[in-house]
Amino acid sequence: MGEDAGPNDVIPGGPDGNNSVPAIVFKPQSATPPGRREPTPEVDVLDAELAPPPPSDATPGSFAAVVREHGDRLYGFCVRLAGNSADAEDLLQETLLRGMRAWPEVRDRDRAKPWLFSIATNLWRDLCRARGREVATTPLDALEADDDDFSLYQTIAIEDPFPYSDELHMDFLRLFGDEDVQAIFGSIPAAFREPLILTVIHGFSCKEAAVILDVPLGTLLSRLHRGRKKLERGLWKYAVANGLVSAIDEEDAR
């Protein structure tokens, strides 16, 4: 190992070394994602720019590519927004049509996913309005503040539904199957449910969720908190109402 090591040749601790610790290999950083033609380092920038574009069905940044990447998530979001698959399909299709028309104007294409989600959200609101349904932007802050300080953790500890369990809280959570959680989730008012869906299920940051729902960040944070309290309360009510636990104080379940 006497010669000068180029970036890619000698790997310290490689096959002929007896070093069992994986070596850190320093390679030149490349911004090119794997799977794309990578210009060799000798090619200068101008030549690289003249390279032909990749084939169309894989064109990064095309609307089709974006939909292929985020379509499943977007469909799932539509299902949760609409609450049934027929409306969800229409909503998805409408979202994609609108998105397709607007796509050439979109500058920040790295933000395509939140952008698509906000189109779906707006369309869904329009649709609800058109159907004369109550839209979840009515004054909410005065509404049902009583759930805000409900603590499921505390309630389980006090009610002690599994007297022989040493994993009381976890046993409580194990009571719920997919349909149970979805039913409870569906009963949370949309304004509180949507922030939960976006952050917990779809992994958006609170800031992104606020942009998608078109509310100030503070409003989003407060609705997220209240949504979770409603979820906690919902889980408890559901467990009592369905006989999954027997509450000492039935009043709590009303």
Binding site: A64, Y75, L96, Y153, V200, I201
Partner: protein
């Protein structure tokens, strides 16, 4: 120092990494000294996982995917002919 009530109010946002520096630090200081709240934090984390696992969104049915593909292919501009 914040009390348990305030700590609980911040917990869900803590799990979302949505607390700003000072609020985050205050909560962590509280957690350092309060086993009750550590228990509730762990519970909140599991509850969050429950939602992720149980309310995870359904996959797109094949016929919807097919419709979407048709829509995309029909609207996709022809690629420019190779130079």
């Amino acid at each position: 120092m914040i009390d348990c009530r305030e700590a609980v109010r911040r917990m869900w946002l803590y799990l979302e990494a949505a607390l700003d520096g000072p609020h985050n630090d205050e909560l962590e200081q509280h957690l350092d000294t309060c086993t009750r709240c550590c228990g509730e934090l762990e519970f909140s984390r599991r509850l969050r996982e429950l939602v992720v696992d149980r309310a995870a969104t359904p996959a797109m049915p094949p016929e919807v995917r097919q419709r979407i593909e048709l829509l995309l292919t029909a609207a996709e501009p022809e690629p420019e002919a190779g130079r």
